[in-house]
Symmetry: C2
Subunit: 598 residues, 2 copies
């Protein structure tokens, strides 16, 4: 079985030394409940639950998978009991709204919770993590009555939610959805249509399931403007079975412990969430949370993969590495002593720790951007509306970066972890190959990387540009402070690289603003990676500063500094490639993919 150690020290460092800096947008400095002892207690307990209860299920869940019969879906052995324990220990309530019975802790703890659980078992997270996303949707758009009826059940996990978006003909393009809704005399609705790719669309973890379903009212216009969102439970509150049926589950590359369902709605009873034909807007808070969640899953998967690769490389001896102190000539070296293996491990560490900083910063910005103080605990949101708007805009910019950059890097990292194991990495018994198969989905669901790139470029950077302006202004203050008199603990090398990169980002943003639409869209993925490096470099600069400022200066701080420098010297230069690719003509000639391809 894979080993896993929750990254408690790195989490403490991020929360109390990096993200608490008062000058950082979304600073956790004023966050209530975020005292050190509480965080230690929570993360420690969460880690033990993940290791003792969830991790042991992961390999078996992959081998066994889910089982579909006409009477319902069975999850792998141990899942129902583990989920019951998860609820009994109150974990779903950690960051839920106190009005719904939750503990109302800062969202960053939810992100950390999900990262740790994802390291233990990605498939388990697929079941439990939709609820907070669904609650974000309900709280933003549903009627008080609907929230009162379903909110507490979702908050404590006694009912699980699903997102029902895709249909066979409609994946990335929700405008093609055909599922219909009709209003009933009592004000409820009847939903008819077939949805695919509904994660957890049916299972044996909870007695009831709540589906959030995009459908089209009569006379709705075509396209996304005609969509309305509905809440459709599996069992109605009067105890009758609703007319929603699971017609089967998918066979997938990985994530075998999570049932990916086809759901048939046959005049199923539902209730509207939000206004008619505002379904996409109502769905957005859920989708955005789910995109950030994917980043937490990605970091968790990359972390456990890296930990096991590092352990293997620290135990297995092969070949003679250079300069291995304490090794006699006759004894082979540890894998970790080989510079190329050390390089692969350093890449993994850099992506894990940089990615963790990004997902935690984004989580901090969720609380900082809370606009409706009536909905959330008032103490959690910023009081200054301008600050809140800045945080919301920055969060909007970071969301596609977390989904499109952190997730891609995590896949790379997991693949490198497999590579460190050599041929053994390809064997099922080693356990890494499951992680790679599971992780492959995270750049597909909740919007592919290409979709994120278009969102980032078109809607965010070249939209109102607010979030990018906030980021660049914050970076500008940072690098100017670095050059100012009396600047202490700043790392000159990374701050200089950050300033250069910020200049590059400004240049290519200006360039793309006036580029032809095909050229601009063809450059979107490169632009996403460039901005991913910008945000990551900024966080590494702040992490290096915080590490240097720590008075204890343990080996841990030196390792953090060296990891940051490795990132700057070995991974950040990808920005040279990206900028060159964007500045070249990015448009792909249609001849390349045209019919004469053979």
């Amino acid at each position: 079985m894979l080993a896993f150690e929750p990254p408690l020290r790195d989490i403490r460092f991020l929360l109390f030394e990096v993200l608490s800096a008062p000058d950082l947008p979304g600073s956790l400095a004023g966050a209530q409940h975020l005292d050190s002892l509480l965080v230690d207690h929570i993360v420690d307990a969460m880690g033990r639950f993940a290791i003792d209860t969830i991790l042991p299920l992961n390999a078996g869940a992959d081998a066994q998978g889910c089982t579909w019969t006409a009477s319902g879906v069975q999850t792998p052995a141990g899942f129902p009991e583990a989920y019951a324990a998860f609820c009994a220990q109150g974990w779903p309530l950690l960051c839920a709204d106190p009005e719904l019975g939750g503990e109302g802790l800062p969202h960053v703890l939810f992100t950390i919770q999900q990262e740790i659980l994802s390291a233990a078992c990605h498939a388990f997270v697929m079941a439990e993590a939709v609820n907070p996303c669904a609650l974000a949707c309900l709280q933003a758009s549903a009627s008080p009555d609907l929230i009162a009826r379903w909110g507490p059940l979702l908050a404590d996990g006694s009912v699980l939610a699903t997102m029902c978006l895709s249909e066979a003909q409609a994946g990335s393009d929700l405008g093609l959805l055909r599922t219909r809704a009709a209003v009933a005399p009592d004000g409820s609705y009847r939903i008819t249509g077939t949805k695919i790719f509904a994660s957890g669309g049916d299972h044996d973890l909870t007695a009831n399931i709540v589906h959030l379903v995009l459908a089209r009212l009569p006379d709705a216009p075509p396209g996304t403007r005609g969509l309305t969102l509905f809440l459709v439970p599996k069992w109605l509150e009067d105890g009758t079975r609703n007319r929603v049926h699971c017609d089967g589950i998918e066979h997938k590359m990985g994530l075998h412990g999570s049932p990916t369902c086809t759901l048939r709605f046959e005049g199923a009873v539902g209730w509207r969430i939000g206004d008619p034909q505002r379904g996409l807007a109502a769905m957005f808070p859920m989708m955005n949370r789910a995109r950030l969640l994917a980043g937490a899953q990605a970091v968790g998967l990359a972390d456990i993969a890296w930990q096991n690769a590092a352990r293997y490389a620290g135990e297995r001896r092969q070949g003679k590495a250079v300069s291995t102190p304490g090794t006699t000539l006759a004894e082979p070296s540890l894998l970790i002593a080989h510079p190329d293996v050390a390089r692969m491990l350093a890449i993994q560490r850099a992506w894990v720790e940089g990615g963790r900083a990004l997902i935690c910063w984004s989580a901090a910005l969720i609380d900082a951007s809370v606009m409706d103080a009536a909905v959330m605990d008032a103490a959690r949101g910023h009081c200054d509306p301008a600050h809140r708007a800045d945080a919301a805009a920055l969060l909007g910019l970071l969301t596609p970066i977390v989904k499109g950059f952190v997730c891609e890097n995590a896949q790379q990292a997991v693949s490198l972890a497999l590579q460190v194991h050599g041929g053994h990495g390809y064997m099922t018994a080693t356990g890494i190959e499951q992680l790679l198969r599971d992780a492959r989905v995270i750049t597909l669901y909740e919007g592919t990387t290409g979709i994120q790139a278009i969102d980032l470029l078109q809607r965010k950077a070249l939209g109102d540009g607010h979030g990018l302006a906030v980021l660049l202004a914050s970076i500008d203050r940072w690098t100017r402070r670095s050059k100012g008199e009396g600047a202490t603990a700043h790392d000159e090398e990374i701050d200089a690289a950050l300033a250069t990169l910020a200049g590059t980002v400004k240049d290519v943003t200006t360039l793309l603003a006036t580029a032809s639409e095909p050229a601009r869209l063809a450059a979107a993925s490169s632009y996403l990676r460039l901005l991913g490096h910008l945000a990551t470099t900024y966080l590494w600069a702040r992490m290096l500063h915080a590490a240097a400022a720590n008075p204890t200066q343990e080996p841990w701080h030196a390792a953090k500094r060296d990891t940051g420098r490795f990132y700057v010297r070995q991974l950040l230069p990808e920005a040279l490639w990206l900028a060159a690719a964007i500045q070249a003509d990015s448009a792909v000639s249609s001849s390349v993919n045209g019919p004469q391809k053979r």
Copy 2:
């Protein structure tokens, strides 16, 4: 089922318009039997066999896998019949030595054959393709008697060979092998030990199997210098069962149709190949062929993945792409019309066609480098010993590039093909996810990418430097010719990029020659990719020249030109990253991977 169209046109173009240029090292200009009609006939027939007989087995082989019992290994349904047909049609003999009954065709046709078969079913290739590698080993080192006894059986495929190298404690480090050999009174040997990861170590495709086994004679020194190579058949020539037993097969991420066996030798009878304690040298021709073969597998896998992604993108409609001529506003666009999808397809095409050029060039250099005219058909080798030595050195340089660069790019390409399919790509029924799982092994077996990088940098580029000198001289002649008067059909953009890249390679090679050993080894993987781009850019420059020089100028030629330009503008700038990473301090601080990592 996945569709597949053999890349006949690209093969013809490479063979008759690119690799036949007289000034190219390893030119096919003088290769016997390489007339256009014969190639068409062979490739066409090979393609039909692959599509009709092999491709239909692939998905089922993945689902069913191989079965081990104490009495032997069963391959998936249809494999024995397909292999019998493969032999009955004479395919194993295509490029085998006429002295062994082979047809003696140029090696490039073997490479093409393996690429096409790998597109159809990687697992099938694992069974049939070891024999030519084993024959290269036997012909270089075995006694005439051993060749006479086993050569013809391996040449026509009636016996299949395996490579028995790895042991549990010895993967990349063959110096740690413990399997023992002792000489018997009759001059044969008795082999004892346990080998792992023996592909095709047991199966039901042929009655007999021949294992090439590295083992250690009594009093042999430790390390690789103490190894000797042996031929150990499953059944002895007198009809008795040899004492070699398959103890089990591995469960793997992919390649389920190929049994990865643990073999126990218990005083098994064998015969020495080559001199005592020269086992590694004797194994090298086999290993080098196997590394080039991995490149052909990689290109085949990437080709079928790309073809199906392009087909899907040309059929599925999602969203509104920009500037879609002939599309009304109400109609969603084809995926292929979306610039980001077109970009992903262009990357795949660039890696497939660039990789194919590299594997075919390498194959041409095999024939051009034949040193022992007595062994091979004299007409196939170059007469000029200096030319042969140049070709051999260049082949030595390209072998780790094919294994470490083409294979990594192919994995990227297959992953992008999956990505083009969106969520459907993750589903088993689509078929692409199998290709990604199968392809994941090609950067692990026959020496990981890291091993290739060290071989390239330490043994080749910074060794005698012969191969790199040959490549750079050839490139230098090309780019000077491009600038010369009367140069026609040269593409100025790519030739300029090639000249710049050659300069960069010279600079970083000089830099690394004097770098510390840890820094040098930490830069090896980046250096491998840089040289991969150098060889690929050179071939794209020649392909663009050949396409421009073709008098017909069909749309196919424009597509080739545009693909080459896409490569230069969008993929080649990776060299900026690589050069910066190499020029920065590449050495990884031990603190990054040290014990204080948490």
